[in-house]
Structure formats: C-alpha cells, structure tokens
C-alpha cells in the first residue's frame, strides 16, 4: 500500500457528521458534528465519561464507526482505515512504549509498522530525536526514563512517519509543570508545521491553550469555538452570590433586579456586563441575607456550567 502524498488543505482536516457510538446499552456518543481545520490545535474538553475518549478512539481507528461518518485527512475512516492510519500519529494516554526496549529500538519498531527503513529511517529517526531533544538518550532503556522523557519518546514515535494529524489522548497526564510547558511548545511547533493537533483533556487550563476547543458532555458536543469566543458568550464578568436562603435570594435578583440567574451547587450565578455597578445593588437588596459576593472574569468552567448546569469535575 502506498500512502499518497497530499498537500491540499482538505487533506488535513477532520469532519465528523452525526457520530453515534454505543458500548452495549451505554450510549457514549449521541450525534457529534465537528470540523477541525488544518494546522490548528484543537482540544476536546470534557469531564470523565463525556465521550471524548470514545471520539478519540474513533478518530484513531481503534474502534469502528457504528453510525455517522468520520473523515480524517481526506479519507473516510470507515472505508479506508489502513490509509487513515498512515496519515495520523497517535499518542495514547497510557504509554505505548515497550519499556524493555531502548529509545532507538522503540523508534525502529514504530518505523517497521509504518514502512520506514534503511537510510530514510536513519535520517528521519535522527530528525525526530533531535526535534524531541532525545538524541543523547537514544540508547537508554525506556523504563529508566522520566515521565516527561517517555512522553517525548511517544511524540517522536507519533511524528516519525510525518503524519498530517496528530491525536493525543490526555497528553499532560503524569507530567510535571516543566514537562507540560515542554509538551505545549512541541505541539505548537507541530501546528506551525501544518500538522493538525487534536487532543483530549479534562484540564481546563490545558484547553485554554488550544486554538479552538469543543466541550463535550454526556456524549454530546455542547460548545465549539476559540477559548476567547466561548468565554465571551458569558459577558465581561460573572457574579457569584452565596446567600443564607438561595431561593429567596434568587427571587429577589430575578424579580426586583431583573437578572437572569443560574443556580449551581447552592450558589447563584449572574452574567453581567456592568459588574461594578451591579454588585452594590445586589448587596443592597439582599442585605444581611448575603454570605458572599464574588466577581470574576468567566472561564471555561463557567462556560461549562452555563451550558450544562453542572460543575466541571
């Protein structure tokens, strides 16, 4: 099989149309529609059980498409899974390295699976090892490497065959802060080279770094956009009110101040464009019934709460 070269913009995009997936009685995905452009870092954000790992497995061809269609790098995943595999690089959440082998041997193993050999392998191996700053560790047995270095070897493996799409499942898991920074620099370099980077994460601060993200909840995609645009939907500020009697406070805010409130975990949340003037009015109306009032810029967790009514955990 020859993996055809294709430099068109279309060849490096991902398109999901009405994707459903079941594990027995459990419906893991309930109609996901998604488009990811070439060269962007795209995060699939969601709590555990939201369906992001299932979507990752579908994109990586590890499980078959049951309903709907998925196109990766210009190819239909259902009908051209082997060709798709040649165009994607995958970094799983759990390490896929053979710990008993050296870095070089792991790379050689990956090369054999993806059709690299001889001089081309030698040149490409040197290139990715240098890119991942692993050249001086190439002879080391992987079980002796730190978590960050192992992740770099995983990335080197994923990049070896020059994929157009890089899929990463919870790539920051187990990494210390320095290694995370390192990882994101690498991901940004990949994107700059035109590789589409798709990662799943349950870490809000990680999703903030992506160019675009989709928030998943209970098998559905509930929001999709840049981190800034998603936060912008909530206005400039978010006021959170804790009151002695939340029911009574909610009634006051709604009826007397005309505010739209959302109750989450016993607290009242109010989107506001004019927080500076609104906070004194809320305090004045609730008086001693108020326990605390906080004002903050909306974050992705607020977006999640606004869309689902649940805290992100």
């Amino acid at each position: 099989m020859i993996l055809p070269a294709d430099s068109s913009r279309d060849a490096a995009t991902i398109r999901c149309r009405d994707v459903h997936h079941r594990y027995g009685d459990h419906e893991a995905l309930r109609g996901v529609d998604l488009e990811i452009d070439r060269g962007e870092i795209f995060a699939l954000l969601g709590p555990n059980g939201s369906g992001k790992t299932t979507l990752f497995r579908l994109l990586s061809t590890l499980v078959p498409v049951q309903r709907g269609s998925i196109e990766v790098a210009g190819l239909d995943v259902a009908t051209s899974s082997l060709a798709v595999r040649g165009r994607i690089g995958i970094v799983f959440q759990s390490p896929s390295l053979d710990k008993k082998l050296s870095v070089d041997e792991n790379i050689a193993c990956q090369a054999a699976l993806y059709g690299l050999s001889g001089g081309r392998l030698a040149a490409r191996r040197d290139e990715v090892l240098a890119q991942m700053k692993l050249t001086d560790r190439r002879g080391e047995i992987c079980e002796k490497l730190s978590g960050g270095l192992k992740r770099r070897v995983e990335l080197a493996k994923g990049l070896l065959h020059r994929p157009r799409v890089m899929l990463l499942d919870e790539p920051s898991t187990g990494l210390d802060p320095a290694a995370r920074i390192d990882l994101w620099q690498t991901l940004r370099t990949m994107a700059d080279q035109g590789i589409t980077v798709v990662l799943t994460t349950h870490l809000l601060e990680e999703a903030e770094k992506a160019d675009r993200l989709a928030i998943m909840f209970r098998g559905r995609l509930i929001a999709d956009g840049t981190p800034g645009s998603l936060r912008g939907e909530l206005g400039d500020a978010l006021i959170t009110v804790s009151a002695v009697d939340p029911d009574e406070a909610e009634k006051v805010l709604r009826d007397e101040l005309g505010l739209d409130t959302q109750r989450v975990s016993g607290q009242l949340r109010v989107r506001a464009e004019n927080a500076a003037s609104l906070v004194p009015r809320i305090a004045d109306r609730l008086g001693s019934r108020v326990e605390s009032i906080t004002v903050g810029r909306p974050g992705l967790e607020d977006v999640f709460i606004a869309k689902t009514g649940y805290r992100f955990d």
Partner: protein
C-alpha cells in the same frame, strides 16, 4: 509529505525481533524455560528409573526425554504469548493495532518470535542431550528439528488463542494449568498409551482414549521415534505411524493458527485499555 510503504512482513519481522530482544533482557525467562524442564527430567528420570522399563529396555530418563523437550517448547511458547496480555496492559499493543499494517503481522510476529525462541531453547537442550550421550545422534535429528518447529508454532498459536481474549495473566495461568499442562501430561510423556487389546482396566483404557484424542500425543510419539530410531515402540502400546503423527501435528498447527487468526481479526473490546 513523504510516501511510505507499510509492509506487513517487515512489521511481523520487527515484532518477532522484539520478542528476542525482550527475551534476552529478561534473564529469568531464559533460566526458567530451560532449568525447570531440566530439573523435571533429572528428578523424575532419576526417581522413577528403577520402576519403569519401556520398549527396547528404555529407562525412564530415556522415555521421559521427548516429553521434556516438548515441555521446553510448551513453557517457552507460553511465556512468549503471555506477553500479549502484558503488551495490551502496558499500552504497547494499542500502538500496534492502530498501525497501517492490519493485524496479521501481530500474530505472525508473536508466533514467529515465540516459536523461534522455543525452538532454539529446545535445540540447545537437545545438543546437551546428544553431548552427554542420553540419545544417539543420527540423521533423524533433522526430523526432530523440523518436528520441534511444528510443535513450537502450534504451541505459540495455542498460546495466542488463550492469551488474546484475556485481560489478566492470572487468567492465563489458570487456563494453562487446567488445559495446557494436562494436555502435556496426557501426551504420553509420562507413561505409554495402552493398546486397546492390552488387557488394561477400564480406567486406563478411558485415559488411553483421551490420550489418543490429544493432538499433542502425535508429535511426542514421533519425537520419541526420531530420538530413538533403533527402538520399536509398537509393542509397548499406542504408536501411530510416522505419516499419521506428522499429519496430525501439521493439521493441529494449521488449525490452531487459523483459530488464532480468526480471534484476532476485527475490533474487540479487549483491544481497548479502559
């Protein structure tokens, strides 16, 4: 973008090579696969030497030799295929299953790697046997080598059948102790298979029936004949002809390999690490 040509053969070869690298980096495997059968052979052979007289006045050490060699192959093949479960648990298998080469290289690589390791270990043991005069070297050694290869491939395929759907090594060991060890014990390694007209009791004949139905019996019988070509085993119980032994051995190899392949095809829940 570069064009690469993924090759199933190259992938299978690399996966087989990986089995060898891992084997030599786990010294306990090297030791246990040879030392344990050797101990079995020496202890049982010596202990039962006085209470056994086989065809051609064979003592128990001679009689038990083919079974010991079969055990080496069995043990090594089992250890090689149990690594499938470890590969899956440790994540390595996922990266192989999403490679653009399909699944047959996984089976071919595991079976090729595991069976060559088993074969080489058996051959090393066999060389020691000839060196110390426990059997006489003759041209039949080529038949022994070929038959050992068949048994090694069969055992690895059988190991893959057991290991592929499993998610724990404990489960694999349970199946091994309940299925594979009795299979080895009932292959005529410990005692001859009584002929139907031998006047043996009902229990012994029932056991003899089980042993005849055991596909491992046939390579063990043939191995015994090839190791001791001068001895006539037909007078001491069930001794099917060489063509029958080879036919059953080869058929068993093909069947186990096909079953392993059918198990590995397609997507399975076991492919996923939760």
């Amino acid at each position: 973008m570069a064009e690469y040509r993924p090759s199933g053969t190259a992938a299978a070869w690399m996966l087989a090579k990986r089995e060898w690298i891992r084997f030599f980096r786990q010294r306990n495997r090297v030791i246990s696969a040879v030392v344990q059968p050797l101990l079995f052979w020496l202890l049982f052979g010596t202990g039962l030497q006085g209470s056994f007289v086989g065809a051609g006045d064979q003592n128990f050490m001679e009689y038990f030799l083919p079974g010991t060699i079969a055990l080496i192959v069995l043990f090594t093949a089992i250890f090689a295929t149990i690594s499938v479960i470890e590969d899956r648990r440790e994540g390595f298998m996922q990266s192989v299953l999403v490679a653009p080469v399909g699944r047959w290289p996984v089976l071919a690589g595991k079976v090729l790697g595991g069976s060559t390791i088993a074969w080489v270990q058996a051959v090393v043991f066999l060389a020691l046997v000839y060196l110390f005069g426990a059997a006489s070297l003759s041209t039949s050694v080529f038949g022994v080598l070929a038959l050992l290869a068949v048994v090694a491939i069969t055992m690895c395929s059988l190991g893959m059948i057991v290991a592929w759907p499993m998610d724990s090594t404990q489960g694999f060991h349970a199946i091994m102790m309940l299925g594979l060890m009795p299979m080895w014990l009932l292959s005529g390694t410990f005692f001859p298979i009584p002929a139907w007209d031998s006047g043996a009791g009902g229990g012994q004949l029932a056991l003899g029936g089980l042993m005849r139905a055991n596909p491992l019996t046939y390579p063990v019988v043939e191995l015994r004949r090839l190791l001791y070509p001068a001895v006539d085993f037909s007078a001491s119980g069930f001794a099917p002809s060489s063509p029958i032994c080879w036919s059953v051995s080869l058929a068993f190899m093909v069947i186990t390999t096909l079953i392993a392949w059918s198990l590995m095809r397609g997507h399975r829940r076991a492919d996923l690490i939760s």
